[in-house]
């Protein structure tokens, strides 16, 4: 298990995008996970609006998010000053170079505040690298693999949380995170996670002893 979370205790605070919030809510343990990070967790109000709009067919996600806000596990923030300008830069222009409101607000806020952004979206990650070289981007798996989260949840709950995020929210996993995920949830559960199938297939060819 060579992968280790790039989220460290030096990170001052963390801004969550909708792509990550949805995964964390699906884990079934969002409160202990976020509390274990022991850093301020922020969600831009545009992300809350986005989750509200996406909840048209069921309010479950919105209710869970409202609980996180009420319990002060996450703080909702409005963009201010220079971050607003950055936000408008990111939502304007050609389709290929613009982002949805939630993604743009997450990057603009994290950039403006000098903190890290948690985002699982590939286009947003690319644009962030292009425009803000110094901005640190982490993924949901980095949050789950953080030492404090692993210690706080314990093996069984971490396995359940990771498996539920994969199964219910189809959490995306990067290639370098795949081995860690499999160790956590167990090889027998890989088949049940559609977002892992592609990576699992790739591994069949590369490591025959382990994967066949």
């Amino acid at each position: 298990m060579t992968f280790s979370s790039c989220l460290t205790d030096e990170d001052s605070s963390l801004v969550l995008d909708a792509s990550v919030v949805i995964n964390l809510l699906a884990t079934g343990h969002p409160i202990p996970i976020l509390r274990a990070l022991a850093m301020p967790i922020v969600v831009a109000d545009n992300v809350v609006c986005e989750i509200e709009r996406g909840a048209m067919n069921g309010r479950q996600e919105l209710d869970l998010l409202a609980r996180l806000i009420d319990d002060q596990v996450v703080r909702v923030a409005e963009l201010e000053g220079g971050a607003v300008e950055t936000f408008f830069e990111l939502v304007s222009g050609n389709s290929s170079e613009s982002l949805g409101d939630g993604e743009a607000a997450t990057l603009a806020f994290a950039h403006g505040m000098g903190c890290s952004a948690a985002i699982d979206e590939k286009k947003a990650t690319r644009l962030a690298a292009d425009r803000f070289g110094s901005l640190k981007i982490v993924t949901t798996i980095d949050i789950l693999a953080h030492d404090n989260v692993q210690a706080s949840l314990g093996t069984a709950r971490l396995a359940d949380a990771t498996f539920q995020a994969l199964r219910r929210a189809r959490m995306q996993v990067r290639e370098h995170q795949f081995d860690w995920v499999v160790q956590v949830i167990g090889m027998e559960n890989v088949e049940a996670c559609s977002s892992l199938k592609r990576l699992a297939k790739l591994r069949v060819g590369s490591a025959p002893a382990l994967w066949r």
């Binding site: 607003v84 936000f87 939502v91 290929s96 690319r126």
Partner: protein
């Protein structure tokens, strides 16, 4: 906070804001108040005489329930189907208004994706028929048969009406969860063509019936937007035509007569089993099937009422006759729109849209977006040179 949005011209942004306000059905007074500006300022912004400021734009986008990105994206398309639905007698109903906005937004998304991907839509529309004096039902029977012939469908049952509407005729077809009383909507626009939205929370047979009705509107009254509520009284010749057209298209007279004869040979009475098998064969509801049999004189008038008064033809009986698998296939589906989904997946793969943009454009939640992308990834991994397309 006075930065002016300079990526679009003031005139273009003003026009987009006006369409967004009208689509959301918000008055100029209310939106000016929401943005903290005078009504005259809002008028100037909509006319392109003054640029919107960032804070004003943010307030207006929230007031209209749209994203700032959809207002500012350069390729964003602005279609205004909603005001046409509002001109219908049902005006003011929240469920209908919401459905009209949904159709409008889905059409916008599809056209924008076509534009950014450089895809040209192919239309294959038959000439529009006029509703003539005389018995509209007779005319609908003829027109439905003619359209079947034109499409090369022969007399057989239609397995998937929506595939014919979308892939053979080139209509824009979507299904989403709508207010229960709204079965479907139809609109036609010179620039974007014929558009249909079907209520995905209805059963498959009812959705097909709605599709047949909307096809009737497309055949003869294309230029009139329409909201189909099938429990409403048929109060116009156009509605009677569309209903008769749908029936005739889905259950062609000759095919029904032949199948009826085949199934009832040796029987002395029409039974529930006959109705279930016939309805399943033609993919229509039990009620629609019995009414069609009555219409064609194959059973006495009042047969459906008799069934209704005597325990109906129940889901359980359908399950017994067809088996659980066939029955389960008839239930509610999740949001669908095959062509729009294909375009969106393609745009996402090319990194032209993000997951958040895709979710907003398709009007589906993140999890369904990820489901589409996972399926697409799985299909792509399967592909080898054998499946490579020549273009």
């Amino acid at each position: 906070m006075t930065t002016i949005i300079d990526k679009l011209s003031a005139a273009e942004l003003g026009a987009r804001l006006k369409v967004a306000r009208e689509t959301a059905n918000v008055t100029q007074d209310a939106s000016a108040k929401a943005a903290g500006i005078a009504r005259t300022t809002l008028v100037a912004i909509e006319k392109g005489q003054r640029s919107a400021r960032i804070n004003e734009l943010q307030a207006l986008s929230r007031c209209y329930g749209v994203s700032v990105n959809s207002l500012l994206r350069r390729e964003s398309v602005h279609v205004d189907l909603v005001p046409r639905f509002r001109s219908l007698p049902e005006t003011g109903d929240a469920g209908i208004d919401q459905a009209a906005r949904m159709l409008n937004d889905l059409v916008r998304a599809e056209v924008e994706l076509e534009n950014i991907l450089g895809v040209q839509r192919t239309y294959n529309y038959p000439a529009e028929k006029m509703i003539l004096p005389g018995d509209v039902r007779t005319q609908a029977e003829h027109d439905a048969q003619n359209l079947r012939n034109w499409l090369g469908l022969g007399e057989g049952p239609i397995q998937n009406l929506f595939a014919i509407l979308e892939l053979q005729l080139g209509m824009r077809v979507y299904s989403r969860r709508l207010d229960p009383k709204v079965s479907g909507l139809f609109a036609y626009d010179e620039a974007v063509g014929a558009c249909v939205l079907i209520n995905s929370s209805h059963r498959k047979d009812r959705r097909t019936q709605t599709g047949g009705h909307e096809l009737g509107h497309f055949a003869a009254t294309r230029r009139h937007p329409e909201v189909y509520q099938d429990e409403k009284y048929e109060n116009s010749r156009e509605e009677r035509y569309a209903n008769a057209f749908g029936r005739a298209f889905l259950t062609p007279a000759r095919a029904v007569m032949e199948k009826f004869k085949e199934l009832t040979t040796g029987s002395t009475h029409l039974t529930r089993r006959h109705v279930i098998l016939l309805a399943n064969f033609f993919g229509v509801s039990r009620q629609a099937m019995v009414m069609r049999l009555e219409e064609l004189g194959l059973t006495k008038k009042g047969t459906w009422d008799w069934f209704k008064d005597n325990g109906n033809i129940t889901d359980e009986q359908v399950r017994q006759v067809l088996g659980p698998a066939a029955y389960e296939a008839s239930v509610v589906e999740s949001a669908q729109s095959s062509r729009l989904f294909l375009l969106a997946i393609d745009a996402w793969k090319k990194d032209l849209i993000s997951e958040g943009q895709m979710s907003e454009m398709l009007k589906v939640g993140r999890t369904q977006v990820r489901e589409l992308l996972d399926e697409a990834a799985a299909e792509e991994d399967e592909a080898d040179d054998l499946f490579k397309l020549p273009h």
